[in-house]
């Protein structure tokens, strides 16, 4: 089971990186989102993956529980990555106003003029 998780994570990661290497600002942001998914999956695959009961005491037998720790870490990660995404989108909006383009390579034009 770990193997398929590892491969899936790797593929999503690779696609995210490829998108981040594009010149389009929008593709960069989509790539960043994919990267976030991949990283969350990476943390999740540290779970044992053999027990699938929700870690709720009383509802699930302790030995059938999924590992609660990675879940807690991912929960934090999801929310933070949302904050980062919102900030990145605002930054992209601002940057595109400054350079009138979606092209990452022209972002440096503001440096050159000063």
């Amino acid at each position: 089971m770990v193997l398929i998780f590892a491969v899936t994570t790797g593929v999503i990661f690779a696609c995210g990186i490829y998108l981040m290497l594009r010149r389009s600002m929008v593709r960069l942001i989509i790539g960043l989102s994919l990267l976030t998914y991949a990283v969350n999956l990476l943390i999740f695959s540290m779970d044992d993956l053999s027990t699938r009961g929700a870690p709720i005491i009383g509802a699930t037998e302790p030995e059938k529980m999924a590992d609660p720790l990675p879940q807690a870490l991912i929960l934090t990660a999801i929310v933070i990555s949302f904050g980062v995404l919102a900030f990145t989108l605002a930054l992209a909006y601002r940057a595109s106003q400054a350079v009138q383009s979606d092209n990452m390579d022209v972002l440096q034009s503001t440096d050159r003029e000063v």
Partner: protein
Amino acid sequence: MALLLIVFAPAAAAFVLTLIPRAARLAITVPALTFLYLLIGAPDGMSINIPWVPSVGISISFFMDGLGLLFALLISGIGSLVLLYSSAYFDEPAEYSRFSRYTLLFMMAMLGIVLSANLLLVFIFWEITSITSYLLIGFKHEKEAARDGARRALIITSAGGLAMMAGFLLVGIAAGTFELPEILGSGDVLRESPLYLPILGLILLGAFSKSAQWPLHFWLPGAMEAPTPASTYLHSATMVKAGIFLLARLGSTLNGTDVWFYVVTGVGLITFLYGGVIAMRQTDLKAILAYSTVSWLGVLVALQGTGSEYAASALVIGILAHALYKGSLFLVAGSIDHATGTREIDKLGQLARKMPFTFAGAVIAGVSMAGIPPLLGFLAKELLKAASLYEGMSGILATLFPIAAVVGSALTAAVALRIVWDTFLGSKAADTPHEAHEAPFSMWIGPLVLGAGSIILPFLLAPTLDTLVSKAVSAIRQETASIHLHLFEGINTPLIMSTIAILAGLGIFLIRKPVIAWLQARREYNPVAVYQWLFYDALPNGAEWLTHRLQSGKLRFYMMIAIAAFIAMTGLTIYAGQINLLGADVLGALDWEIVIVCVLLMVGAWAGIAAPTRLGAIVVLGIEGALLSLLFALFGAPDLAFTQLMIEVITLVLFVLAFHFLPDAFTTPIRLSARVVDAIIAAGAGLAVTMLILAARSNRIGDSISHWFVDNSVPIGQGHNVVNVILVDFRGMDTQGEIVVLIIAAMGVTALLRLRPHDQPRGKYVAEDTNQGGGDGGDGGIDQQHS
């Protein structure tokens, strides 16, 4: 305790002066009291040791032996006179106060160097002297020459200091301790260490750069941009002798080898002769003094090559005599500059009648410098000659040393005569910007006190000097010594050599005009050109070239570098560590529903790349998020599934909103080769992550801590949903931090959306915003900008 007070009292005084600048005139009491205490009351063998960073062997430890005492006396004694002198030298009280603060800080650092018992502490104080020297050379910071000189001195001496620190660390490795008394007592440990040559090279580099040895001497003449009291104190009497001190301090553990003898004596003698010759061709009084200081520093280095007892006594007397006469001459030069407005020796002359007290000080110092009996300078030169005849030397330097000693002494004598004669006497009247007048009391008393020292000390040989010299020589050689100096030991070889040197010096002085003209016509080999090339040409241009190479300004390029590094490090670690990737944990039974979700996730990720429009890409992203949430649900993580779905919805809304404003140029054509490179890097990164997960899951090195949370969720956290209890209770601070991150992100988003760039020219938002802010606040900021 007394040692701590001696070292740190000047720093405390400097601090008081920053609070009460008008108290500058009282600052002199600190070094004066220190001097008196050292002279009369200080007991032998004081030491103190306070652990500071014991794990790496750094402690605040001080000790005082004869060598430390000798230097501490010079530092506090001349420091007192310099502070007194500068009270009249500076016309502005604010300048005087600033100068006093720097000088007191320097005094603290210098006392720290000579009294520290820990090598790393020595290094710290050493660098503080470099910094205070930088501040003092650049004292008149509105002058470009002062800034250049300050920077040059800082670069050379602190680079040397870093080399020295590396040497100290090696000493620590070789000797097993940084405590000086232990190192000095450890005999041949350093000499027999395989690290001996690196240690020697690095420490000599530090000492030579600080003590202005050829070819690193060129910062010292540049340092003459400092106010003259600072030149007197730092660049003649004390700081430049820190290198000499270091050689003397560590000499007993490092000397005795051929390398030591040839390098130390060789470099010292070259510097001795070079400084003497260059001093002759200078016309600025301070430049003459600077090069003659370089010259004498060469002697003090050369004397340490042999490690003989004669050489050690010559060293001690040489340090003392030089500090007295050269300090005095620097003060005299400052008084002349102050009184006449020039230091050009060609414009000066016949000042004796107008400045009688200054003249008296100059004559005594000049006679001592020329090595004319019965002053202290004569004794120093006698001992130098005696040391140059030491029989333990062999090879070509054994022959050259006595010759160089005579020639160098003759040059010194000629320079001394020239300074005194051409400035105060001579046939030509002064032609100076101001009419010359006698300096105030506090300015002429310094040279006279130092001069009195040069006269009286030789006649107090038995009671005072012998004790001090014996203590210092014992400390230098780490062998109990009992030195009895005599001003005249009858007619012997050193006396004959001294006589020849004085007569030759007189001869050079008499034909000085053609000699100086001839010297000035020669091209000077000047290592400063190398320095200029290195620090003003090669280094900036090289840095610029490299920066342009690395900083393309393209985000893609930076990311590629970072990702490639990640791939390389992960791959190398797994390859080199031969880490098992297919442990028992990895290959388990496959669950078909999971496989389907995973395949869909992979297809979705690829579709994100292939999507022709951005709306399509966003939809794909949404589907990915939903699939992920499904996966979480399947694996018993309902909280995750729910949160992921919620966030996914908000994200979609956010994307659609933002894209409304973003320019629509989703696909930009790019070369196929570039896409292939990108694809390879991306695939490599994906592979690295896959291997990372496999490696982590195949090689568990510890037990999971998760069961602790499960066991304690109800008893401690009073909650049944373990994930929630972890978030709000066990790792509550994490969640707190997460909230802070969200707030910061929200503030960032608000700030970004509120900035209005349309009506302002590009690249100038910041400046304009500042002005607006200043206007609103109504404080002094905006007024200052306009005034």
